[in-house]
């Protein structure tokens, strides 16, 4: 949000043109590293600790890319028993299964494993509560 207003400051130069003007590269933006294709990217949020053994915790924002097909070891979002669920996709003895800390679902238990998308990365706010206020209260939080 701040960025939208910042641009104006750059445009108005009252004195001398910056000697760096010809060498601008554009500042790093984390979105470019997190999102491969915005048109196939969705965001979900982890609720609870069913994935804590692989370090995905309550409140983490998950970045999901639908364009990928899961391979062994992929973190995925699946639709299981009426709920979206975060799971690890594994293929053991060529039978796919979906595992998290609450248990394992085997393909044999369902017609098909309903995989909604692949989790490419996880975003987490690591600030202590005392700093998670003011302008920082929305860092990786809803």
């Amino acid at each position: 949000m701040i960025r939208a207003f910042e641009k104006r400051a750059e445009q108005k130069i009252s004195g001398f043109q910056s000697p760096a003007a010809d060498y601008l590269e554009g500042r790093l933006d984390i979105a470019g590293r997190l999102v491969v294709d915005p048109h196939s990217t969705f965001y979900f949020q982890m609720k609870g600790e069913a994935m804590s053994s692989v370090s995905i915790h309550d409140g983490d924002i998950l970045i999901i890319d639908r364009s990928l097909s899961p391979k062994n070891g992929t973190t995925v979002i699946a639709f299981i028993d009426g709920n979206f669920s975060c799971r690890i996709y594994q293929v053991i003895n060529s039978i796919p299964q979906l595992k998290n800390d609450t248990g394992t679902i085997y393909q044999t238990e369902m017609d098909t494993l309903q995989i909604w998308g692949v989790v490419t990365s996880v975003c987490r706010n690591v600030l202590p509560k005392s700093l998670k206020t003011g302008k920082c209260r929305h860092v990786c939080a809803l």
Binding site: F42, K47, N83, F84, S85, L142
Partner: protein, 414 residues
Amino acid sequence: MFALCDCNNFYASAERLFRPELTGKPIVVLSNNDGCVIARSEEAKAFGIKMGDPEFLVRDLIKKYHIHVFSSNYVLYGDMSERVMNQLGRWFPRLDVYSIDEAFGWLGGIRNLESYAPKIRNAVIQNTGIPVSIGVAPTKTLAKLANKLAKKHNGVLVLDTDEKISDAVRDFPVHDLWGVGRQYYKKFEALKIETVAQLREMPEMWFKQNMTIMGQRMYNELWGRPAIPLDEIRETTKGITVSRSFRNYIESPEILAEALALYASRLAEKLRAQKLRCVYLQVFLYTNKNREDHPQHFPSHTHKLLIASNSTTDLVGIAVKVSQKLFRYGIKYRKAGVIATGLIPESELQLNMFSDHDGGKKDTVSAVLDRLNLAYGRGTLRMATEGYEKKWRLKHEYLSKGYTTRWSDIIQVI
């Protein structure tokens, strides 16, 4: 060759993507104000629910068959549409977005269409989650026809030979043909023309005489000679409208003013987004014409601005003032709207000799307004006339969330 890509039951599919438990279950989506059915899943169609059915008429069916009802969530559909169109755009040298859920693609220079088209379809379905069907043919009219047939096949139909085209048109009903409205259909009916194959066999002169230039184009298109190029259909905007039904009837001038202030301010935003100003602002009010027991009143007035404007303060001021003149006590108003016409580009402003122009100042105010509302969300800074409670606002009892547009609405996974 042209392709027509069309999302299957788009609104219902978009809702279902985020509610997978509704896969295979009947869904209907209602229009603004939850008035009529505007989209149905295949299952809902099978229960006999028709496009445009008023909600109260199908209420019993909805209950009986446990049909899931959604209010129209245009925020969600708009975003999903953008995703689909962007995915499609990668597969065609040129793409013409025809509506929220369909686009024509030009396939010039691409070979092996029989294997190419399914690839497009699979990629869109995988990447966006929205099912699409693709019809491919030498003309837009035939591509549209192929698309309708593709829906009944496995989602793709390529008509790349004369034989395939002849097969496709053989039993295709003329009333489903692109460009055939009620007028033309009556003519066909009188001549007992029922299928596109029959229509196609009519002489070219007949098309010209009975359907003017449109007929000639249709004739050529049906025989595989492109007569409607990409992009050509789009009309230049002559007017921009913002109109909505109210949740309940409005019977007080103050409340009516609130509604018109909001519509006018949306209209000003739309004008500015397109870099246009308007010379005329029309305000209209509707009563419910289905209620014969209510007194009816459909007043409308067009105000001519001295100097063309797209400023929120100008348009809101006029809309409110006009609405107060149109308003009659004792009438139950159901809907109102504002229409901007006489549109001119922002850069071509004609001043008036007899009036002061403080346009520069107003443009600055508008720019600040747009910038704040873009950064902090629509309606953050607004005219006080719009009011706070907005009790007249649209009814959308079955609205789903902004899963892809609002952080507070993203899906929680366990």
